[in-house]
């Protein structure tokens, strides 16, 4: 018997056996999203009209296709262009924006038969101007699916919460620097940030051409694999897209897992430390080995910050210079976007040279197949107040992962005071299969990904 939390495979089987139609499934998720999703500020725009048309088409062609996504309702972060449907990029300064074309990922999902039921809430302009509050969105502050007093994470806010609430079959998010893995960790769902270039960026808001990645946020690693299969691939409309074919189910056998020096004590992260070691026990029982590693000592975060400033200022220059800038909700975003116009070219070029130096970090792959590390040391932060204060002791990535385009899969490994704790498996470029296999291994031997938020 399926329910709103069923996996894509289970939903697909039920559709094929005609236990339920895509139209009925669509109605179920639309009802749930328009009530619970609304309550948690997960929605940017409902797309019922197109959803029922796509569901009818999916039902019609059910016997003619083997695609597991045929008939499955989903939501996309509101930075994916969707023809004729508002795409506001989370920004009140773009409230009238409607494109006449679909992003490539949206087109691919339509071809696969998936049903778009909503555009999902996000931080305005994906946070490019230095957001400092949860309310930095036209959709309001995104509530964590597990605790409404906590933040759902960003910038793929609604993709994280709606997926955790069982209000979509799956969702799409995007990441420049943390925006898939952060909401995945805070909402206890599974997010796969692919290798840079794995999914075409065509039709998606650019914050940073050389860092932006698009990927799935789902309730399991298995689901992420099915969605990534559908949306990945070379696209002549995106010159950075990879020609190498994804082989997510490649078998690699026993892995050597790299472990960084973690700072649990310093950050008073008792629950996270326990969850981390329990997860390592699971991996070791499955025959995987662990080895201590360290990244080369380089200023990755500073380089990333400079690159985001410079490319973001260029991508959004007309908006920043327009009288719509002060429509942004968070005043930190207004000032930050303006300040980014001043970023010197020599800073940017230094950061890109630093990025060349950072390639030395690829040497860690001689010692291990992947890295396992907590996404943050604690559960999500309070939805009220300044992040500059609340992110104290949270830890978080300070490595080269995003700078070097490495893929990662974030998934739940435990709880702290009733809210999820997440960790991620990070792998070398083009080896999403390693992230996938280990996350799958973990989820087949634990049940954190099957736990559901209380209000649901």
């Amino acid at each position: 018997m399926i329910d709103c939390y069923s996996s894509i495979t289970e939903l697909s089987k039920a559709l094929r056996k005609k236990e339920i139609s895509s139209a009925e499934l669509t109605q179920m998720y639309i009802k749930r999203l328009s009530t619970l999703g609304k309550e948690y500020n997960s929605i940017a725009e409902m797309t019922e009209g197109i959803a029922y048309e796509q569901a009818a088409l999916a039902d019609h062609r059910m016997e003619d296709t083997k695609n597991p996504l045929n008939g499955i309702p989903y939501g996309a972060k509101d930075l994916y262009a969707t023809a004729g449907i508002p795409t506001r990029w989370g920004s009140p300064g773009h409230e009238d924006q409607v494109f006449d074309h679909d992003a490539t990922a949206i087109s691919k999902l339509r071809e696969a038969g998936a049903v778009l039921i909503a555009k999902l809430a996000m931080i305005e302009l994906a946070g490019g101007g230095n957001y400092d509050v949860a309310n930095a969105s036209i959709s309001g502050p995104g509530h964590c699916a597990w605790d409404k007093t906590l933040w759902a994470g960003g910038s793929s806010t609604g993709s994280g919460s709606a997926t955790a609430l069982g209000a979509v079959g799956f969702s799409l998010g995007s990441e420049t620097s943390g925006s898939i893995i952060c909401p995945s960790a805070f909402n206890g769902v599974t997010g796969l940030r692919p290798t840079y270039g794995r999914v075409s960026r065509y039709g998606c808001m650019a914050l940073c051409w050389t860092l932006d990645k698009l990927g799935p946020i789902c309730r399991s690693a298995e689901d992420c694999g099915l969605v990534l299969d559908a949306i990945s691939g070379y696209d002549e409309k995106d010159p950075s897209s990879l020609r190498e074919k994804l082989n997510i189910r490649r078998k690699s056998g026993k892995m050597k897992i790299g472990l960084l020096k973690e700072a649990f004590d310093k950050n008073k992260a008792t629950e996270c430390e326990k969850a981390y070691h329990n997860a390592l026990d699971v991996f070791r029982k499955l025959g995987h080995e662990t080895v201590d590693i360290a990244y080369p000592d380089l200023p990755y975060d500073m380089a990333t910050g400079i690159i985001v400033d410079a490319e973001g200022a260029s991508a959004h220059e007309h908006f920043v210079r327009s009288d719509r800038l002060d429509k942004l909700v968070d005043i930190n975003q207004v000032a930050g976007m303006a300040a980014a116009l001043q970023r010197p070219a020599v800073d940017y070029l230094w950061a890109m040279r630093m990025r060349t130096e950072a390639l030395k970090a690829n040497a860690i792959w001689d010692k291990c197949d992947c890295v396992f590390t907590p996404v943050f040391y604690h559960k999500s932060v309070p939805i009220e107040g300044s992040f500059a204060k609340s992110f104290d002791n949270m830890g978080g990535a300070s490595g080269p992962e995003n700078l070097l385009g490495w893929p990662a899969c974030a998934f739940p490994i435990g709880f702290e005071e009733g809210a999820p704790l997440g960790a991620n498996i990070i792998a070398p470029c083009t080896r999403e299969d390693i992230c996938y296999q280990l996350a799958l291994d973990f989820q087949r031997n634990s049940d954190f990904h099957t736990k559901r938020p209380v209000p649901a």
Binding site: L207, A263, D301, A338, R343, W350, G399
Partner: protein, 109 residues
Amino acid sequence: MQKISRRDFGVRAAGVAAALAVPSVLRAQAQTPAEPDPVVTDAEIDDVQKKLAKPLNEEAKKILKADLVSQKKDTAARLKVKLPEQSEPCFIFVSTPKKPAGKEDGEMS
């Protein structure tokens, strides 16, 4: 797609294990007496405002000033990170030769 304020990097980096990529040069700086903040003048604030369609309000101007201070700190910090003389930015321009009419890729003239 950023998860939190980049101004917060310093705060967060301080809270994370030193092994997590806090640059040695920055760590060294942190151990020495704090350097005074770089100065951002009113003229620099005005310069930014001239690029905008509307003037910023006082609160936004304060944040802008802090952001510009932060940018100058970045510049000062990065100048202390020695990059190899021969290093190039991690993007390259690839010349695209004009294909002779009627020739396919790889076909010799």
